[in-house]
């Protein structure tokens, strides 16, 4: 299974060589949006790796090699953390070098939580349908979001900013543990669901 993760990183070599420097440039230009950039770059890189393996022929290849379907799915779930880790490391180093200060550990943790949450939903979705529909789903979600902003909660942006600021200001360890546990559970359920979906697939 480690081989599968290594393969993903190897195949993303070129993407990483483009995306990570881009992230550094982004950080140099705009230091304030660490969380947003971290999340977006992680999603972009990880989804790219996922989409590369989404072709029917590639499924046939890996299912014909001595890997179980469980391992194939699990490697993707672990791979998420590898790519997140790479992005976080880049953010940390770039901020230290360029701005002379590191982002708070809370910010980094926040990125990790958000990407975990994102992939908890998007991976089973992509296994069940195809990641290309994820775009439609995102557009739908975004439309709903705009409607919410315009019609129901005009100050949603401020609210989100406040919530984020509130969470980052929190000192209660218990709450962090609670959120962390909840996320771990969601991620594990998502992993089990993806395995179920993938084991029933026909190629």
């Amino acid at each position: 299974m480690l081989q599968l993760i290594r393969k993903d990183v190897m195949l993303q070599k070129n993407t990483l060589l483009i995306m990570l420097p881009l992230l550094v440039v982004y950080i140099a230009l705009n230091a304030s949006a660490t969380i947003l950039s971290g999340v977006l770059f992680t999603i972009a890189i990880t989804m790219q790796a996922f989409m590369l393996d989404e072709k029917r022929q590639i499924h046939i290849l890996f299912n014909s090699l001595p890997y179980t379907r469980k391992e194939i799915v699990t490697s993707k779930y672990i791979g998420v953390f590898c790519f997140t880790g790479l992005v976080l490391l880049t953010i940390l180093i770039a901020n230290l070098v360029i701005h002379g200060e590191s982002p708070t550990w809370k910010e980094l943790l926040f990125i990790l939580c958000l990407t975990t949450l994102f992939f908890s939903f998007s991976l089973p979705f992509s296994y069940r349908f195809k990641s290309q529909y994820l775009l439609f789903a995102s557009i739908g979600t975004f439309a709903a979001y705009l409607v919410v902003i315009n019609v129901f909660i005009p100050n949603l942006h401020d609210l989100i900013r406040e919530v984020v600021a509130f969470l980052l200001a929190m000192e209660q360890v218990q709450l962090y543990v609670l959120v962390g546990c909840a996320l771990v559970i969601v991620y594990i359920l998502s992993w089990l669901l993806s395995i179920r979906i993938y084991e029933k697939k026909m190629f």
């Binding site: 081989q3 290594r6 393969k7 190897m10 195949l11 590369l52 022929q57 590639i58 046939i60 290849l61 299912n63 014909s64 090699l65 001595p66 890997y67 179980t68 026909m202 190629f203």
Partner: protein
């Protein structure tokens, strides 16, 4: 007692408009088994079930005496596979694919890989998607043969290849079989390939097994009978799998050469049928009665 490498028992698999029914056959160790049948009769479905890309609805499949539920990885470590489409990454080279395959197989042998690459004259740094159909097949073979697989499963390896390359391929497979420990199972609808290499023939039609026999046995049992139409009546027609009538007489396939010979004596001509004849008549016979009028 000869060892079976592959054993299917009463395998069923249903799709909305097609099904594989009660399929049972075995593949003997140390031999080449040709898997024949027309287009869309279940060959690829069967091969996918052998590779665990599809799971049967009922019945059992055992490979090397093991089943996929418990021993998926052990089984696949010992299989080399070749499909009739490019299953490699579009942007990859032979070198990239080598590292992917190498990390998957415990018995990967770089020396053997380079031997095949050299033998097949494959450019290892060129993108695989730019390969011709023949080169692609050689690339698939080189990747399939480099981990000392005991069983090679191939889905239509010769389709779309020119006759010269088809022969080369058969030579490669022939030399691969030399030590008597290896087994090849491959599907094809180009039956002439099998004359040169197959020891056993497994024939399916409409998702059902027609027969699985030794090649020489087919030659002993089956015959094409040619004779005058007057010889045909309700009783004699029963001897045939299917009959083709024309103005000049009839031509029919029997699976009991000895009896047909006894019945008709010298009044008919007995000819050795090709696998194509057998496929053609079996299909006609299965489609509706024994009679074909042309």
């Amino acid at each position: 007692m000869m060892e079976n490498v592959i054993e299917l028992k009463q395998v069923h698999k249903s799709f909305p408009n097609f099904q594989v029914k009660d399929l049972s056959f075995s593949v003997k160790k140390g031999f080449v088994t040709g898997f024949i049948g027309g287009n869309g009769v279940g060959k690829s479905t069967t091969i996918k079930m052998l590779m665990n890309l599809l799971q049967p609805d009922a019945g059992t499949i055992s490979i090397f005496g093991m089943n996929y539920n418990k021993h998926e990885k052990e089984i696949k470590q010992r299989i080399g596979f070749v499909y009739d489409e490019n299953v490699f990454y579009e942007q990859s080279t032979m070198l990239d694919m080598r590292s992917i395959m190498k990390s998957a197989y415990a018995k990967w042998d770089d020396e053997l890989f380079h031997y095949y690459v050299k033998e097949f004259e494959l450019p290892i740094k060129q993108k695989i998607k730019s390969f011709s159909k023949g080169m692609m097949m050689k690339a698939s073979l080189a990747l399939a043969l480099s981990h000392h697989a005991e069983l090679i499963i191939m889905d239509e390896p010769t389709s779309g290849l020119d006759p010269i390359f088809r022969r080369e391929l058969l030579d490669i497979l022939h030399s691969f079989m030399q030590d008597g420990e290896k087994t090849i199972f491959f599907s094809t609808h180009i039956t002439t390939d099998l004359d040169r290499i197959a020891d056993y023939i497994t024939f399916i039609h409409n998702g059902e097994l027609m027969f699985s026999k030794e090649y020489y046995q087919i030659e002993e049992e089956y015959a094409i009978i040619k004779g005058a139409t007057e010889l045909l009546d309700r009783d004699t027609e029963k001897e045939f799998i299917a009959i083709r009538r024309s103005n000049h007489g009839f031509e029919a396939l029997t699976s009991n050469k000895a009896q047909a010979s006894h019945l008709f004596g010298d009044s008919v001509l007995l000819e050795k049928p090709s696998l194509e004849d057998i496929m053609y008549y079996t299909k006609k016979g299965a489609e509706g009665g024994a009679a074909i009028n042309t």
